[in-house]
């Protein structure tokens, strides 16, 4: 079956592609303006600069500058490593035939839950502050979608989209 796009979300965090007139897929992911190689280059650049300064002061007798520079470089590397680890995180909903699959990827962990499309229900739950959480439920299992990569308006719009395909909104 040849896929064709039916919906492009204005938000580039998400990509929505319909696989057919009835099948549907949405991916929510963060915006990262730097590639992994570029992140590494930034860390190496900062580390070289900082170590060059620290080495100069070590040669002048102020060797205690070096451990602080080392700690700082480690902190910078850790920050970029953390960002890099989560740069490929995503959440997706795929509707194909009678299956509704929700997939979540965070760092190296991928979890997937598959519901029967015709039994699944779309829920909106009020949160403190006026926002709503988007939940999909079936057979006592419940999964939240759009927690990290979508804002409230986007979740509400997605809930309406899903309602047409899987059930009713409560």
């Amino acid at each position: 079956m040849k896929s064709r796009p039916i919906k492009r979300w204005p938000d580039e965090e998400r990509e929505a592609v319909a696989l057919s007139a009835v099948d549907y897929r949405i991916i929510a992911k963060p915006n990262c303006s730097l590639s992994s190689k570029e992140r590494l280059a930034v860390v190496v650049l900062i580390a070289c600069f900082s170590l060059m300064i620290a080495t100069g002061f070590v040669l002048a007798g102020a060797w205690l500058v070096l451990p602080f520079a080392g700690l700082e470089i480690m902190a910078i590397a850790a920050a970029f490593y953390y960002v890099n680890c989560h740069s490929r995180d995503y959440e997706s909903i795929t509707i194909e035939g009678d299956k509704l699959a929700i997939e979540k990827h965070s760092y190296k962990q991928t979890s997937e839950i598959v519901f029967n499309r015709y039994w699944a229900r779309v829920l909106l739950r009020d949160l403190p502050g006026g926002d709503q959480a988007l939940l999909l439920r079936s057979h006592g299992k419940e999964v939240e979608f759009g927690r990290h990569f979508m804002n409230n308006d986007q979740r509400l719009a997605l809930a309406k989209q899903l309602q047409k395909r899987v059930g009713v909104i409560h």
Binding site: I46, A69, E72, V83, S111, G129, E142, V143
Partner: protein
């Protein structure tokens, strides 16, 4: 294949209210507000300290404070103003505005952001606590070496030096955390289409600031740790009798200290062109030239440190190198001045309070820059070093260039932050009182310095009396006029005329596309920059 996945309430949305909101918040706007509030409080604390000093200097002889307390007030005033007023103010703006300006939903590392802020209050307490302890007979007061911690005085100093060392460590950690967050945010979270050469100037200013902090904070941390071990653990890094070198401390301190000046100023140089273009209703002149100049100044700032202690004794080639390299900074700085003036040249200018502060800032900061050139000259510096000329010079750069710039930023963005317009008449009154009182405080100090009055001395010769009296009266007017600023901010936060989304007719940038105040989560749609 199916795995169980349970839904849980999203803690990011489930933000607490009341006190816990501020203690635990990871929202960039909340943290920005806390930084700015903290900065304002410490600005008043530091201002109170220096008014005590100016009161003592109203006439020759000792009237109000003893020399020991006088020295402590001067040193802690500087540390408070630099580390807990100016730097947090710039970081507050960064937290508030950088995500909005680059189209990011928040800072890259929100939890780190929260920790970075909450290190500041304990650091401020450590700085000022020795004053209170001394009242109960514990210790001999706060650090009395000036903000520079010069050895051997600081090695011999009392408990206040240890408090200041730990305070500086906390402030340094906070600064590094903030810098890492800003670097990661600017590099990694720009909106699609926002290439580096489309970054707002404020983001450029802060990016270079963050690099300077990363480069210099380990040197300061190393220096004060070596000072601590000299004081308590028998090392002799800075003790000539033990084979150490007290001048090494000066090199270490000013390797941090000189870039610190630009750390305080670069964020202001970033947002000031945005203010100028807004109220001139013209595009910013020379964007690329400004970016390259900011980089040039940042790079030069780490290779000129020894001009702060020409008189300590250096080989002639070293004196010449540091003199010429210092003077070289005036070239990119002149480019910036040219661009700022060209931005407003023949513009359709209006003079709301932010613009008044911005134009005043160009003139007064220009005086600070030009008097810096005088001090960069080795021969002239031999005469003016450690006089009130230096005090007046760096207040023209740091009060006019730094604090008045921050005030321009506050008036510029306050309606966006609060959703209300401030009182324009009160804002203009605040500007004129500040500008006039500031000049009346520090112009006499130029002449006092030229006449040879040394700094950091509570008593002086009779010939300096009149100019000191003018300076003191003006300093009190300057200090009291800041209460108008505080009142205006508080009343604006509590209510007032509703601000529009764009606020200013000529405003450009992503932050002005959001409602005033912006929603808790900034962008409802990911903006795309073309």
């Amino acid at each position: 294949m199916s795995y169980s996945a349970t839904a849980s309430h999203d803690e990011h949305h489930d933000h607490p209210t009341g006190m816990m909101r501020w203690l635990t918040t990871t929202n960039h706007k909340d943290i920005g507000t806390m930084y700015l509030t903290f900065s304002l409080i410490m600005f008043l604390v530091g201002g109170f300290m220096i008014l005590c000093v100016r009161a003592e200097l109203f006439q020759p002889g000792l009237q109000l404070v003893q020399p020991e307390l006088f020295n402590q007030l001067i040193g802690v005033h500087a540390l408070v103003m630099i580390f807990t007023a100016l730097m947090p103010a710039a970081t507050g703006f960064a937290n508030w505005m950088l995500p909005l300006q680059i189209g990011a939903p928040d800072m890259a590392l929100p939890r780190l952001n929260n920790w970075g802020f909450w290190l500041l209050p304990p650091a401020a307490i450590l700085l000022t606590l020795p004053f209170t302890l001394a009242m109960f007979g514990i210790g001999d007061g706060a650090i009395a070496t000036g903000w520079t911690f010069y050895t051997p005085l600081s090695v011999q100093g009392g408990l206040g030096v240890d408090f200041a060392i730990f305070s500086v460590h906390l402030l340094g950690i906070s600064s590094v955390m903030g810098s890492i967050n800003i670097i990661v945010t600017i590099f990694n979270m720009r909106a699609p289409g926002m290439t580096m050469m489309k970054l707002p100037m404020f983001a450029w200013g802060w990016l270079i600031t963050a690099f300077l902090l990363i480069a210099t904070i380990p040197v300061l941390a190393g220096a004060v740790t070596m000072l601590l071990t000299d004081r308590h653990f028998g090392t002799h890094f800075f003790d000539a009798a033990g084979g150490g070198d007290p001048i090494l401390f000066q090199h270490l301190f000013w390797f941090f200290g000189h870039p610190e000046v630009y750390i305080l100023l670069l964020p202001v140089w970033g947002f000031m062109p945005q203010i100028l273009q807004t109220f001139s209703r013209k595009p910013m002149y020379g964007y690329k030239a400004q970016v390259y100049s900011l980089w040039a100044i940042g790079a030069l700032s780490v290779v000129v440190w020894a001009h702060h202690f020409f008189t300590v004794g250096m080989p002639v080639p070293a004196l010449l190198y540091f003199m010429y390299s210092t003077m070289a900074i005036s070239v990119p700085l002149a480019v910036l001045f040219f661009c700022w003036i060209a931005t407003i040249w023949r513009g359709s200018m209006s003079f709301e309070t932010p613009m008044l502060f911005a134009v005043g800032w160009i003139i007064l900061f220009g005086i600070g820059g030009l008097t810096g050139l005088v001090l960069a000259d080795v021969a002239a510096d031999a005469q003016y070093h450690h006089t009130y000329f230096v005090v007046a010079h760096f207040h023209y750069t740091l009060f006019a260039g730094g604090i008045m710039g921050i005030m321009a930023g506050v008036y510029y963005w306050l309606p966006k932050m609060t959703g209300h317009m401030y009182n324009e008449k009160l804002g203009k009154l605040h500007f004129w009182l500040t500008a006039i009182a500031f000049n009346l405080t520090f112009i006499p100090q130029f002449f006092l310095g030229l006449a040879g009055m040394p700094r950091r001395i509570p008593d002086y010769a009779l010939q300096f009396t009149e100019f000191n009296q003018i300076s003191t009266i003006a300093a009190f007017v300057l200090g009291l006029s800041q209460l108008l600023f505080v009142y205006n901010i508080i009343s604006c936060a509590r209510g007032g005329k509703k601000a529009t989304d764009k606020v200013w007719e000529g405003a450009e940038g992503l932050e002005w596309t959001l409602p005033s105040p912006p929603p808790y989560h900034s962008f409802t749609e990911q903006p795309v920059v073309k």
